[in-house]
Amino acid sequence: MYAILCQGLSKRYANVSAIDHLDLSVPEGSIFGFLGPNGAGKSTAIRILATLNQPTSGDASIAGMSVTKHAGRVRRVLGYLPQEPAFPSWMSAREFLEFAAALSEVPARERRPRAAEALDLVGLGDAATRRIGGFSGGMKGRLGIAQALIHRPAVMILDEPVSTLDPLGRRDVLRIIAGLRGTTTVFLSSHILDDIDRVCDQVAILAAGRLIVQETITRLKERYARPTFVIEIAEDAASLAASLSPHPWIASATADGRTVRVLARDLARAERELPRLALAGGNTLIRYEQVLPSLEDIFVRLVQPGKEGAA
């Protein structure tokens, strides 16, 4: 059973195609990362899923209900945090959550306990009666998560929930999101690939409105893994990178200070020849390591095929 299903979802603005026949399936209870460069169509897709925009063609369903035909019912099971949320600054955090709960048809007697529970969950229990106008960006980010889960939705859609947070705020919010695994389906878009790598079970990568890949992170790394070597020498690494680049079994060699990151096309040859070449010019070898590709390596490779390994 899928919590979110998109079938041929398309959105056009005049002559611009924001999303082009997007097919997605998000398993129930999973934490799903939605990635793509700026302008890839992520926010457009998210607004359609949140029933705020209409697709030009195709459809999507949340918990088995069409977002175009049963928007009202979808909103009952959906928690949504927009990319740049704004709050009524005159309200206290508790008042705002009770207001959000009332709009989501939470019975009156349950609103206050639910607000207290949500505030505790996001670490704002002590700030319950403080006006939102005096909150920091991090506190507002956490309040945004709290309002999205106040009615215990089956599906939460979070558009860049950590982009405005400092490292500590990000860590806290990611911990909250990770804690929802198995009980709530979380559909999460973010530019911070380390965060996605840390909390998500599956990812979909979008570029120019089209889905490039949807896969579990583990399988994605297996599937798109390219042997990567890191060579650190005592000397400046630019000349070593330049001497390695012409070899046909090397996809790319990038210098960064005294380190060269080498992406190999032929693993066996790289394992055989790289140590020798690293020492060829009389370099002093400090570190030689074969590393796993990061989600960022894969992301760059998929959305910018011509620049693979450049990151």
């Binding site: 705020l52 925009n53 009202g72 909103r75 927009p82 009524p88 709009l103 989501s104």
Partner: protein, 255 residues
């Protein structure tokens, strides 16, 4: 209508918390009482401000002059204040992300808009009532022959005019991307509607703005309750049409 009561309560609480009530009350109160007070003081003010051989004779000010001054004041600053207060109600919330968080919940979009109309309407009508009562107190105190009936009729015209201004401003806020644009267009539309009675009487006479143009007729008894029916119903119809159009526009609008 899902969410209407919750959203209306929020609008009213917001009016108190953001001093919207206080601002509206102050504007209407000052505009209301300054008319009859200045009218009463006008002969003395002119007598004291003229010097030497120049002599300006001002006739005795009557209740008609006082109501005229009240009406003239209430048709200007309070209308502008109504536009300024309501112009960001929809456009700014939509632009700043509050709208998205509210409209992604199981509420009717028409409830969102009608709650704003109710909330702002109650604030403006309350402020009008305050200004009108205070002004009538001074009219009755300072002038002979103050009659409540025609005065209520004139204020009924003002109330319906305010509802029209509010509905037009909310419609503009739904259609346009920013509060400033919504306020500007609403102001231009209000000016256009205000000049209609002079330009094309068949339509203009059925707008609430025409009531204020017939203040003398109302005070002298030449206009009666029956004459008010057309402008009041016309004004309510205009407010209903603008509100309906705003609901339709918001239902189709991408957030």
């Amino acid at each position: 209508m899902n969410g209407y009561l919750t959203l209306t309560r929020k609008e009213l609480r917001e009016s108190l918390a953001t001093y919207r009530v206080l601002i509206a009350a102050a504007v209407f109160l000052i505009a209301g009482i300054s008319g009859p007070l200045l009218t009463h003081m006008l002969p003395d003010l002119i007598r004291h401000s003229t010097t030497g051989n120049i002599k300006i004779i001002v006739g005795k000010q009557t209740v008609v002059d006082a109501v005229d001054a009240y009406l003239s004041n209430m048709a200007q600053l309070p209308i502008l204040a109504a536009i300024l207060l309501a112009m960001g109600a929809v456009a700014e919330e939509r632009a700043h992300g509050v709208g998205a968080m509210v409209l992604s919940r199981p509420i009717a979009r028409s409830a969102y808009l009608l709650a704003k109309l109710t909330g702002y309407g109650l604030v403006l009508l309350g402020a009008l009532a305050l200004g009108a009562i205070a002004a009538f107190y001074y009219i009755a105190l300072l002038f002979a022959d103050a009659r409540l009936g025609p005065y209520l009729a004139i204020n009924l015209g003002l109330a319906v005019t305010l509802l029209d201004v509010l509905a037009i401003t909310l419609l503009c806020g739904t259609l346009l991307p920013s509060g400033v644009a919504a306020g500007g267009v609403a102001f231009v539309l209000f000016i256009a509607l205000s000049t209609l009675p002079a330009l094309w009487s068949p339509l203009g006479d059925n707008l609430p703005m025409s009531i204020t143009g017939h203040a003398h007729a109302l005070l002298s008894g030449a206009w009666g309750a029956g004459d008010l029916l057309g402008p009041v119903l016309g004004g309510l119809l205009l407010a209903a049409v603008c509100s309906g159009a705003a609901c339709l526009a918001l239902a189709r609008r991408e957030v």
